[in-house]
Amino acid sequence: MSEERKFICVSCPLGCGLTVTLDDSGEVSKVEGNTCPRGASYAKSEVKDPRRVFASTVRVKGGKLPVCPVRSKTPAPKGKLFEITKAVAELEVEAPVKIGQILIHNVCGTDADIVASRDLEAV
């Protein structure tokens, strides 16, 4: 039995409505509704291994702001996001922080690094 799934592509602000057809073995056999190749690859990833970029803040000691924004450099597995929120919440770094600086390698055993997303000077 083939199966159809529908979702909104989040790759860009257009937000195309995608319809994905899966064949008997669960493989993607058709993607419809996308306007670009990013949509097709998003559809495949969303079925097999859904991922999202995670963005939050970490506490900073001695910085011009008490917190510094961070992100996962690459999309992290969706199912691991809440575990990642906790790992990031526990982290405190010292100012200065440089944009792109890796703060957690392979967070929660995923292949995604948590990096700073701004420069933050020390007070």
Binding site: I8, P13, G15, A55, S56, P69, R71, A89, S117
Partner: protein, 450 residues
């Protein structure tokens, strides 16, 4: 005699930083950007989620990352920034008697490029600034770019009965608390309005361990992007209620709950649909308003619908020495558009400062068709190719076309799969099309089903 400044830009958000780059690249020597915050970047400093700059940089950046790249470019281009600097007054008169106080009137008219009636306004524009180290200064730039951005519509703008306890914030205020100051506004939130900041904050609150009971939107369609409903609400099972609003606020010192109710076609709450929702936080994502206090002081014409300065395609206001770009003009959906407009305004302000903008440029009015809620610019000169940005009043959920016609003759047309109020549409006008017909009396833009 004050220092010589060619282009003065007010606000170092995405529009202002780009305007600085545009002005320097066009050849203006002294380009100064004023910023009241201690840091550059404007509101994007607190927009720490990814989703910015896909068109400009071919990758999705967070707000701070997007601004980091533009600020670097601005430094390389030789733009001067003055932070912690507040503009508190703009005068456009040469008559020192109209100035309050006894501060020296530091300007001589320096912009003799434009002759004629309007030139009077372009001369002797004085921008008063305040800074802890520099004190109070009067600056007389050759041209100005207004890039003050927009503000959130506050609770006072919608009438909700009940008390005014703590725990009610605009979504952007809550965003600043969480992302820059390290505070959580509460533990259980209701979000009123479905603008993008509200949707983004719903996910942000969830990631920080709070509950989000639901998002309530009075209209029949979402205010924000569909992808934000997917990735911020659907991903976390947050209920989204259209045609529903908050009708009462409960609690005295701290918010205890809200009453929500469905509304009819006239947006009147329907009796019998009321429901009490317990919450300690109410976030408002009910619209953005261009911030034009200074524009009004400068005396430029403000458009009644956009709430921003009336501009032509050079992004020049009714005062030829004053330009404007970004959300101060019209609230954009994408920051890439804001930066593009900033670059254009900065470049044209530089041209004006160098006397390269013809005073006798055309002023062809742009008119919005039936389904156009707002648009900008409102005039076309035909001096360069231009883009007119617009939003539809009602969504069209079928194939349609966005088009422009000059006195009935179609000069632009583009097919669309749909048109929605939450997303802007564009009309591109080629300068040659305007120049080819010197007698165009007006250009009409619209979006219609096909």
């Amino acid at each position: 005699m004050s220092e010589r400044i060619d282009v003065l830009i007010i606000g170092a958000g995405p529009a202002g930083v780009a305007a600085g780059i545009g002005a320097r690249r066009e050849g203006a020597e002294k380009v100064v950007v004023l910023e009241r915050d201690w840091d550059l970047g404007g509101i994007l400093q607190q927009c720490i989620h990814p989703g910015f700059g896909l068109r400009t940089f071919k990758e999705e950046l967070t707000g701070p990352e997007y601004m980091h790249r533009f600020i670097q470019q601005a430094h390389e281009a030789g733009v001067e920034f003055r932070t912690n600097t507040m503009v508190f007054q703009i005068d456009t008169s040469n008559d020192p008697s109209v100035l309050s106080g006894h501060l020296p009137f530091a300007g001589e008219a320096k912009t003799p490029h434009v002759k004629g009636e309007r030139a009077i306004h372009g001369e002797g524009v004085t921008v008063w600034t305040m800074n802890k180290e520099r004190g109070i200064e009067a600056l007389n730039p050759s041209s100005i770019v207004l890039t003050m951005g927009c503000r959130e519509r506050p609770l006072g703008a919608i009438r909700i009965p009940g008390a005014r306890p703590a725990g009610i914030y605009t979504a952007g205020t809550a965003q600043r608390f969480v992302n820059m100051e390290g505070y959580m506004p509460g533990k259980r939130a209701v979000i009123l309005g479905s603008g993008d900041i509200g949707l983004i904050m719903a996910r942000r609150m969830i990631w920080e361990g709070a509950e989000v009971e639901g998002v309530y939107e009075v209209m029949s369609w979402p205010g924000g992007l569909r992808r934000n409903i997917a990735q911020c609400l659907d991903d976390y099972g947050i209920p989204f209620h259209l045609r529903t609003t908050v009708t009462k606020i409960h609690g005295q010192d701290r918010l205890e709950g809200v009453t929500v109710a469905e509304v009819d076609d006239h947006m009147t709450p329907i009796k019998g649909t009321e429901r009490y929702v317990e919450c300690d936080t109410l976030l408002l994502a009910i619209g953005l308003i261009p911030e034009n206090e200074l524009s009004r002081m400068a005396g430029v014409d403000i458009h009644p619908v956009t709430g921003g300065p009336v501009v032509n395609d050079l992004l020049q206001t009714s005062n030829p020495a004053i330009f404007a770009a970004g959300n101060v003009v019209i609230v954009y959906d994408l920051v890439d558009n804001v930066s593009d407009e900033g670059l254009i305004a900065g470049a044209n302000a530089a041209k004006f400062a160098m006397g390269k903008i013809p005073a006798d440029a055309k002023r062809i009015p742009v008119k919005g068709g039936e389904n156009v809620r707002l648009y900008s610019p409102q005039f076309v000169t035909g001096e360069a190719d231009s883009t007119i940005f617009m939003r539809v009043t009602h969504p069209i959920e079928q194939a349609c076309k966005v088009f422009a016609s000059a006195d009935g003759e179609e000069i632009y047309s583009q097919r669309l799969r749909y048109a929605r109020p939450g997303e802007m549409n564009e009309v591109r006008i080629k300068a040659e099309k305007v120049k080819a017909n010197p007698n165009i009396s007006s250009i009409t833009i619209d979006i219609q089903p096909v």
